[in-house]
Symmetry: D2
Subunit: 145 residues, 4 copies
Amino acid sequence: MNQTSPSDPDFESRIRASFDQQGVMKTIGAHLAQVSPGEVRIELPWSKAVTQQHGFVHAGILSTIADNACGYAAYTLMPAGSEVLGVENKINFLAPAKGERFVSVGRVIKAGRTLAVCSGEVWAYDNGKETLVAVMQTTMMALVK
Amino acid sequence: MNQTSPSDPDFESRIRASFDQQGVMKTIGAHLAQVSPGEVRIELPWSKAVTQQHGFVHAGILSTIADNACGYAAYTLMPAGSEVLGVENKINFLAPAKGERFVSVGRVIKAGRTLAVCSGEVWAYDNGKETLVAVMQTTMMALVK
Amino acid sequence: MNQTSPSDPDFESRIRASFDQQGVMKTIGAHLAQVSPGEVRIELPWSKAVTQQHGFVHAGILSTIADNACGYAAYTLMPAGSEVLGVENKINFLAPAKGERFVSVGRVIKAGRTLAVCSGEVWAYDNGKETLVAVMQTTMMALVK
Amino acid sequence: MNQTSPSDPDFESRIRASFDQQGVMKTIGAHLAQVSPGEVRIELPWSKAVTQQHGFVHAGILSTIADNACGYAAYTLMPAGSEVLGVENKINFLAPAKGERFVSVGRVIKAGRTLAVCSGEVWAYDNGKETLVAVMQTTMMALVK
């Protein structure tokens, strides 16, 4: 891994192919909105399928899209042929996840040879109003074959 | 909240009603397996709908069922008329979530008046083999109307 | 608590008085470097008294100055007469804490009525080189008498 | 690393030697109370040197002794010649750290080849009363030369 630039020029197609294999992303209706070196965004429209008991997006689904954005952000900087593995994450919920769509942003804070530390955010868009609803701090691991 | 026994004798029906309103639990196919004072279990069968790129259960779905078991474990000890709110959680992933079914266990470690700290586990059952695949530590909040 | 401006105009003297009562800050040789609304900095010179086995600053001391900066950052926005209580924190260690001095920065991300979520950083200064050595995400609680 | 038994028969002397080199443990007055395979205990008497503003032990010092017990618990299972590195930790504070002495317990939950996940506890002893004041979940890394 290199902290500033991807060693694999095909990082975006590698990540899009991996994302497309994730059954859960189809299930919740999320898609990859942006794949840049060290930063990935995932967009999720609201649907009843992802709600908790009050009709807002479930905390676990916020974790899912934040963790996924962080994992792929780390993966942009990992070498071709590697796999990315989630070691752990921590998320704080700041406000009810109320809105018509949600965007998670994952950014690499520090990419080491084996581990990468990333920060994640989840933003809610509700009738033109933008609210930060969750922040994540997470560790990802590169498995190099 | 009381650390050892529920103040609301109807805690189980309150939790089952809340769980049934969560769209996401239907979507992923999870059900409440046990509701006891200070401890809740949620069971999730494997399905393609909850997978990551290698066909195992996605980390975010492990977070979802662990967080939900912890939240409802805390909720068993909260008073009638209250709501439970997830403040934050932290999860470590210990092994690939490989198996035909998964059980999350949420337990209250300490229930205060406003905040409850819970620990969560996710177990994978794979052809008769039981593996601990994730551990969680989380804070829940009681909103008393 | 108010997210953008302190309700207590005397927040700085309140925080300096509290800091001065902390035996541990004297013990490790730390001092308050900056107290602004929603942001606090603490400075710690290197000394053998705070080291781990390789002579770098111990991870727990990085936690101590990061947690303290976050707690006081939250406290700047809490009302007069309140107390600040640490609910939990999560810290990632990014690089060895090598240097002649260290600065922790605590910033409020979201201040609610009862809980505040803060982010913390610890920077090492080593012969003119600045390195981010730790990042923290934490929850603080206001106890209003 | 091996999950159940140390590969290095001299793990205890290795850990005691490392602990003795930590300036911070002398500074706060902590000592190693127990070193077993996968479990380590550290004891800290109360002193003004480790207090926060109300005279209780500072949250950061609870983190310090919990993190250290977890790190050395992981280190018991690492091979001779390796180093242990703290990747991250998360701690919840359950009660004021009031008492005349404090014991942190670190236990290995899962030891992999590179990473170990540990859980930590801090207990307060106050006039014969034992209280769990903090729980930690942490990741440690083996650096094998």
